[in-house]
């Protein structure tokens, strides 16, 4: 059994978000982290590895420095890493991204008992589209918003966290599961893991390696193969100075409610 965990290196948006003069995100000046939901997906995979001894592979698509993130995941306990990297893949939207990742997983081999874990969504694009699209392109079952995962042979039982409760879903492997942060607390790297992670295998898959895959077509990958294009991005306007509402208690509260209602806050 092999578990693929799809991970993304994202800018750390918890600190200061740097913006270029033209309104785009200044990624170069920001620290990068492993997307938080993806870390929970990795932890889930490693818990299954602790129980079954299965193989865990971290898969990412990104520029060459993303290899550093794969080393971190290997230091946590993943067995190996796969970096999908090439100029042809740049500028992909969710459709093209999932096309390429699905092709890479098909290229690496997806057996009957295998599972693919993804995070619910990445904190930079915030779309939550890539996981389900990978499942569609590989034609396997998908379960999203996993808050608890149990294995029972080839059956996977998943508790899906919904807005107002949860539902339990059973799926047959091979399947794809997207995980939420509430699922677990990701483990730290071990000292030995860090000392050894630079000797573990990281495979780089470029366009040449994947070009014979049926899903890979210059018309369906990269910027050219993306049905959507970003037309414009900008920083939301900052809130101005606060306004003091004059008047007695009741009057001031009415004024406040009117303002909140006008802005559709309530």
């Amino acid at each position: 059994m092999r578990i693929y965990v799809c991970v993304k290196q994202v800018p750390d948006t918890s600190g200061k978000v740097a913006v270029n003069e033209n309104g785009t995100l200044n990624r170069a000046s920001m620290e990068t982290i492993v997307n938080p939901d993806d870390l929970s997906a990795m932890e889930q995979a490693l818990e299954i590895k602790d129980q079954t001894g299965c193989r865990v592979t971290a898969v990412t698509m990104g520029p060459p420095p993303a290899e550093g993130m794969l080393r971190e995941l290997i230091a946590m306990g993943a067995d190996d890493g796969v970096l999908i990297s090439g100029r042809e893949f740049g500028g992909s939207d969710t459709y093209a991204t999932s096309q390429i990742i699905a092709a890479a997983i098909r290229h690496l081999g997806l057996e009957e008992e295998d599972i693919i874990f993804c995070g619910r969504q990445a904190i930079d694009g915030d779309t939550a589209q890539v996981g389900p699209q990978i499942a569609e392109k590989l034609d396997i079952s998908q379960v999203t918003y996993a808050g608890k995962v149990e294995m029972d042979g080839k059956l996977v039982r998943v508790m899906r966290l919904m807005e107002d409760g949860y539902m339990t879903v059973e799926a047959q492997t091979p399947c794809l599961i997207t995980c939420v942060k509430e699922l677990n607390r990701p483990r730290y790297m071990t000292v030995r893991g860090i000392l050894e992670c630079y000797d573990k295998p990281v495979t780089v898959l470029d366009y040449e390696a994947l070009k014979d895959e049926p899903l890979i077509d210059p018309g369906t990958i990269g910027l050219a193969g993306s049905p959507t294009n970003i037309f414009k991005s900008f920083t939301p306007p900052q809130k101005g100075a606060g306004v003091m509402l004059e008047g007695a208690g009741r009057e001031a509260v009415r004024g406040l409610v009117e303002r909140l209602a006008a802005r559709h806050v309530i």
């Binding site: 000292v191 030995r192 000392l195």
Partner: protein
Amino acid sequence: MILSDKYKLLRKNFRNFAETEFTTEIQEQLDREGGFNWDLHYKMAKYGFMGIKLPVEYGGQGGDTLAYVLMVEEFARVCPVLSIYANTPNSLGSGPLLTCGTPEQKKKYIPPLASGEKKIVFALTEPGAGSDAGGTLTRAVKDGEYYVLSGRKCFISGAPLADYAVIYAKTNPALKGNKGISMFIVDMKLPGVSLGKPELKMGINGYPTSDIILENVRVHESDLLGPLDKGFSTALKTLDGGRLGVAAQSLGIAQCCLEESIRYAKERKQFGRPIAKFQAISFMIADMATEIEAAREMIYSTALAKDAGEKDAPMKCSMCKLFASEMANRVAYKAVQIHGGYGYMRDYKVERMYRDARITTIYEGTSQVQQMVIAGNLLK
């Protein structure tokens, strides 16, 4: 020093662990109530921190001295007492075993230290013998296959938690000074071993310290550690690692004081502007940062020199301990000063750091003993 990717990743992991796990609640509880946090001890052990620089063949992680000082620095930056948890098994606890132990002793005692299952403490100091170990009064008298130990050790960090202690005892009273002293591994459950009450300390509360009292304790000769009558001079060779650990602990304390001071100086307003805008305050911060950086470079490069087996590395370890511990006290003093009246209150972290910093110029060889070691090396 420019760290390679591997050491940057180690540092990131230590920092993440300390910032997440060493919560303010735990730190304040340890400072207020003393005791020991076993949960954190086991958690640190789980990730390999207890055996970071112990050899892989004895269950350690196989890291080097640079990895070790990075860990102690990052842990002490968040909580100095919790840095001691992972520091001890890597330095004083395992040092004498690694240098002097027989293969059987290493196999028996080191793996449980590396895994955090057992704890060993280093017991040298006595009420009448601190800096002058030659004043050791604890006696060990041979009786068949056993040595019979009697005496009293004081200020033994971790004694109330220990499974074993490395005890220094005079085996040949005819030999003067540091000669005629031997080391023994003493099981703390042996008949005749008892503890004094936990000491009430100014700082580093949360790692209990007490006396160990030995009354006719029979230790088997297989637990004699290192050569007979030469225990102290052999052990001296292991102390430099612990000294570098205290230097790294001092560095972490100072780094915390600097960060707290910068944050406070930018927030706190007096005379209509943040106090950081006043030259008197900003120059203090510049001095603190410069001294910290000097200590950091010295400690990291000494870690490399030690692993490379350079001849003057032990002296450099003393220099690191002397400079970094005195520096940490200067920096902590300024940090409290920058915080003004608030810095004297327990609600502000610099107050605890100021108390914790004080021990670093005393334990594992006072600043004066470090000066003796350094001068002794230079004036041979």
